[in-house]
Homo-oligomer: 199 residues x 2
């Protein structure tokens, strides 16, 4: 029984067998009730959280609380890699538009191509909704630049402004590690996307 | 719901909120079935594993499989800090006696005193069973030496040999990190305990 718990924990990313054993022994010393709370929290999270069918943010409902909030600016969409970036940007309280979560970033090295992301869904979304601006908020890395450029190409025929958050975020850094002020500022001072950047 | 999973995971030792979020997002991408297996494995482990009432090793029954194995040498007890050490010694296949799991080590810095460990239970056990040898297999650290010495004092009036595993294990290293050959050899070449060691 210990063996099974260790097996399962060591399948998590970044958790080896030794860490899994250490965690299991820790849990064995905890109250039965609190281990139940942990186990059930994980199961419940997986069973009840779904993805918003509009923006692919996580959601308790079919459409997430951001997409169904009519007080937000519904003419602007911020494109992010994953939901951690939505959380980070929401925390700055500087942005009141909508999001589109790609679910990753184009990275041939990791075998992630455009088809693995929600880029097509973004294009469809732009056909249906009245959007005046798309903000790219991807990491300032080669993969981020590549993804920006790929999406930029797909959006060229739409009548909208394409911007990218200001690179106050250090080049090469992941978005989620930026402090709130820097990240908030970089989204306020967003600038027109120049594809020259990645040439 | 994500929040609760992150809260619960970040209560585990060595797991901060950022890691907890990363693990939660990983689980969200997994199959529902495999998250259920993980959650239930943790709950089941905690609910069904108990401690052997003889040696305090983990056990599915009241008395563990080692203590109830009459093919083992029942006249020798190896004293270890925790069940990871039992696992490590069992893996060497060099030891066929019984164990006594202290459940920790005397460490005033961490607020762990002799009363927090199963030392008294060991003394009681020696009164009831025919034991000819007690082997100390604690880490070669100041806390390990202190614990050895404390137990040695408690056992002085018993008619038995007290030995300690050979210090093939580097001084200052935790027992569980030793390779199997070194650890196996160190338990084979155990030597009489000289309390001079810690003077």
């Amino acid at each position: 029984m210990l063996e099974q718990a260790v097996d399962e924990l060591s399948r998590l990313p970044g958790i080896g067998r030794r860490t899994a054993l250490r965690l299991s022994l820790h849990l064995l010393r905890e109250e039965k009730g609190s281990v139940e709370v942990l186990g059930n929290a994980l199961i419940k999270m997986r069973n009840e959280i779904t993805y918003c069918r509009v923006c692919y943010n996580i959601s308790d409902h079919e459409v997430c609380s951001i997409c169904s909030d009519y007080k937000r600016d519904r003419s602007i969409i911020c494109v992010v890699e994953d939901i951690r970036d939505v959380m980070a940007i929401e925390k700055t309280t500087q942005y009141r538009g909508l999001y589109h979560v790609l679910g990753g970033i184009i990275s041939p090295m990791d075998g992630v191509g455009p088809k693995d992301l929600t880029i097509e869904k973004l294009v469809e979304r732009l056909k249906g909704e009245e959007i005046r601006e798309v903000v790219f908020a991807l990491a300032a890395t080669i993969e981020g630049d590549t993804t920006n450029y790929y999406i930029f190409k797909q959006l060229q025929n739409f009548d909208l402004t394409i911007t990218t958050i200001a690179r106050g975020v250090s080049v090469g850094d992941e978005l989620e590690y930026a402090d709130e002020i820097t990240l908030g500022r970089s989204i306020m001072t967003r600038v027109p996307y120049q594809n020259a950047v990645i040439k």
